[in-house]
Assembly symmetry: C2
Homo-oligomer: 170 residues x 2
């Protein structure tokens, strides 16, 4: 899938088919995270791939905003080492993973945001690390893909040369 098409069409997917994702595709998704650029090439990230149903259920129980993690084919828990750039770098890696997954027909969503100490205990993540997100992945239960996105209009967020000058002009 073309990069712009992936960015343009990717949607949050919160319901998954009961269908495994081939291991080589899981690897490719994790590779996308690993190969992402980071500030000063710090790579302060860790990717914990969870496929065991019982652990996915436990993650779903811990993540208030993402109980559907329980039904994912797998989840990647993204933990970061202490770094000024941890949130930024981790977010870039997650964006890469979600786009690469989407190109393979696999949906995902961002669950949680920092903290989540119980997840650290569950997965044996060092206490000094931060859990940035749980990202459940799976084949979408319903047809999605070309849906319209709710986004601010270009004129609301894009500017030419100086803030407040519309990009569409000049």
């Amino acid at each position: 899938m073309d990069v712009f098409d992936a960015v343009r069409t990717v949607l949050a997917v919160r319901a998954y088919q009961d269908k495994a994702v081939p291991r080589e595709i899981i690897h490719r998704i994790v590779e996308a995270g690993r190969l992402t650029g980071s500030s000063m090439n710090g790579q302060p990230w860790h990717f914990i791939v969870v496929e065991k149903r019982e652990t996915l259920r436990q993650l779903g129980g811990l993540a208030r905003s993402g109980p559907y993690t329980a039904d994912a084919a797998f989840a990647v828990v993204v933990a970061t080492e202490p770094s000024r750039f941890a949130v930024s770098d981790g977010s870039r890696a997650i964006q890469s993973m979600m786009l690469v997954a989407w190109a393979e027909g696999i949906g995902s969503n961002w669950v949680g945001f920092q903290g989540m100490d119980e997840v650290k205990r569950l997965l044996n993540i060092p206490d000094s690390f931060d859990v940035l997100a749980i990202v459940p992945f799976g084949y979408p239960a319903r047809k999605v893909g070309r849906g319209r996105k709710k986004r601010k209009s270009l004129v609301q967020v894009a500017h030419r040369e100086r803030f407040g000058q519309p990009l569409g002009e000049g």
Copy 2:
């Protein structure tokens, strides 16, 4: 370009050809930022597209780590409204823009990280906003693209089921 190939091959580019980027491609890159997913769909971002050489020079002068911004075909200054998710959301949008640009043969790099109050004054960005990054874009001055990346190995950053168990096993 395939999404994984873009993630796999994209490199930081800090030297640019003296060659304009067609306006429709600039638009497509900004669209990639605008269409990116964000926490609670907050979209706390603004994209200021700078093409004027004099302003690019001024940005290059203000950005200690990115004087080469002066030579870019254009730059996107990413400013965020106050939000707990500003750094995360803005970073995801920048990742989308850099990947879409790369698929068009255009290199870029992340310059600066938050603060940069002089950039706010230069571009008339509201004081309550934060300048997350300056992202200069342009056709690479030297052939790049399939270069090897310096990244931690998979075993250093990827784990299976629990932190510390290698992904390669089991």
